[in-house]
Symmetry: C2
Subunit: 342 residues, 2 copies
């Protein structure tokens, strides 16, 4: 874990002078997600998974567009009131985002952090709002679509391939957040960019194991620099390690002397109901933790049921050709600390 002497690297945590407020959040999901654990908490669901589109790829764009518009409706804004859109997805060249938000006309900067993109957006959005006092707000939207992702990264669904026990189910889901310089809502009080970590995993159906070392790397760097411990948080919420990755993370953190205990919850491990859904190791995808954060955890922060959480969306950096050519899937895990207003 310390092969690059990371623990000596400080000054990584950014505590903004003006902690941006998440004045609105929105989520939209497909059929499996809505019959999962947080069914009914999402703002919108489409049981056809098509969101009115003609291909799975276009469906993801329509899903993102839906989330963006729900976000604006909640914030009572029109697209021209949004200063900046930070967005990304899993499709090659992030094209789901490009096509999804084209018609909004909002100034756009595309991100790619695989499933860590929601948190990457919070890192950069927090910086953007603090740097630029004329930027009133910044929207962050990330999406994923099960059917588009499966045929791109693995096999077309029509092939009916058997999934392995450690496989995760790419969620058909999107989540959006509107960060503002002022307003009411949970605030982002600290952010930290992650570093890429190669855990030596080359199995695209075992992304939890590929990402867990990067999560441990970021967590340990954060605790080392801040002097805080897991006890300082009500929850440590990871993106989509799934159940396999969550177990590995628990073991890594225990070994490194920072046991997480039952404070750790993983959006991927929780999004589905394994009793009734064949989710293998849990959910994944850019939209997995984004939708669960928007629909489930942010309301708890708003209503005072949670006070302070450490949020880490987790990314598995790979492509269809990188898997074919070498195969190590690199992990990355940026951090955002979210605090309720009550």
């Amino acid at each position: 874990m310390d092969r690059w002497g990371i623990h000596g690297m400080t000054g990584r945590i950014y505590r903004p002078a003006l902690p941006p407020t998440i004045v609105a959040a929105a989520s939209a999901v497909g059929y499996e997600e809505n019959r999962g654990r947080f069914g009914g908490e999402y703002d919108f669901h489409d049981d056809s998974d098509l969101f009115g589109a003609d291909t799975w790829e276009h469906a993801e764009s329509a899903l993102g567009y839906t989330v963006f518009n729900l976000l604006l409706a909640k914030a009572k804004l029109s697209p021209k009131d949004v200063g900046l859109l930070l967005a990304g997805d899993l499709q090659n060249q992030c094209v789901a985002s490009a096509e999804g938000y084209l018609s909004t006309g909002v100034p756009f900067l595309g991100l790619y952090g695989a499933c860590s993109t929601a948190c990457e957006g919070m890192v950069l959005g927090t910086m953007a709002i603090n740097a630029n006092s004329s930027l009133q707000n910044c929207a962050i939207v990330t999406t994923s679509h099960h059917c588009a992702a499966e045929r791109q990264f693995r096999l077309p669904l029509e092939y009916g391939g058997q999934r392995t026990p450690t496989a995760q189910w790419t969620a058909t889901a999107g989540g959006g957040f509107l960060l503002a310089a002022k307003g009411e809502g949970p605030r982002i009080t600290a952010v930290m960019a992650g570093r890429m970590v190669d855990g030596g995993i080359s199995d695209a159906s075992n992304m939890g194991a590929a990402m867990a070392p990067a999560v441990a790397d970021s967590l340990l760097a954060y605790f080392r620099e801040s002097g805080e411990s897991p006890d300082d948080f009500d929850r440590i919420i990871t993106g989509d390690l799934g159940r396999e990755g969550s177990e590995i993370l628990a073991e890594l953190c225990h070994t490194m002397g920072v046991p997480l205990g039952n404070r750790h919850e993983d959006c991927g491990a929780k999004i589905y109901l394994p009793e009734i859904q064949d989710d293998h190791c849990g959910g994944s995808g850019c939209g997995c933790c984004a939708s669960v954060m928007a629909a489930h955890y942010l309301p708890a922060l708003r209503e005072g049921r949670l006070k302070r959480v450490l949020f880490m969306a987790t990314g598995a950096l790979m492509s269809p050709s990188s898997i074919q050519q070498r195969g190590h899937i690199l992990g990355i895990a940026p951090i955002a600390v979210l605090e309720g207003e009550k």
Copy 2:
């Protein structure tokens, strides 16, 4: 051009309180680039285009790693002195960047803006340095590789396909910039995110035409909001419109009442020597304008031959499947204003 009422949208230009200094820049290129117009100005070239790697995809990672290390050597820094790396490329899921910079251990945020990524990095890097006073510097590196890009987006080179007259040659090139809160060198005095524009082009071999409307959109928005005109710049440098896209841009700007005159230079149109190289419409790729900016224009700014330039890397947002499914290639063009120190 004004279908979304953009010209009424103001507050987009960000003029940083602390204009970051580009304390170092580095470039590395392949065979065709080094025998092009700026041959001899790049820091490094490899006539094999392989950069010691075993596949074209890995060669792009090695190219990026080379640029990053040249950048650090020039700045007399080691990787642990770099606070943040913003990087991206054209490969699916930006995997060339992930693999290329893994071993540096630098905190990493991946960007995807197609060939506009260098300028997108300048926008976000300027914000990051202004937001976070403990962030001493921020590296931006972008790469592209002709052979990796061709087989991903179009056809494998071995197929020997005929290229159309408007096709651009994806450059095997990378460019890097080290932005710092203090130091000597050209400064970034203003940045602006671009908006996506659909020019109705679906031909992946005519990206100049696809991007020119987005460039005009950004330029007009910048001039409208700033009250400046093309006369306020020694050069207006675009990324890789190529010769076709440059002609379209000239016509669009003339029609809109903001003629660019001969201040406009396009890195894609200039990188090769059409007299001796079969480049069709010019160069393209994330590394095209990044390497030309690092090798050719920044030295002119450092030495006082240029005082103030408007730099717009230009991105064509598309993927292999988006071309197959619908085909409109969206354009985007963020802006960075660079000023010499003399």
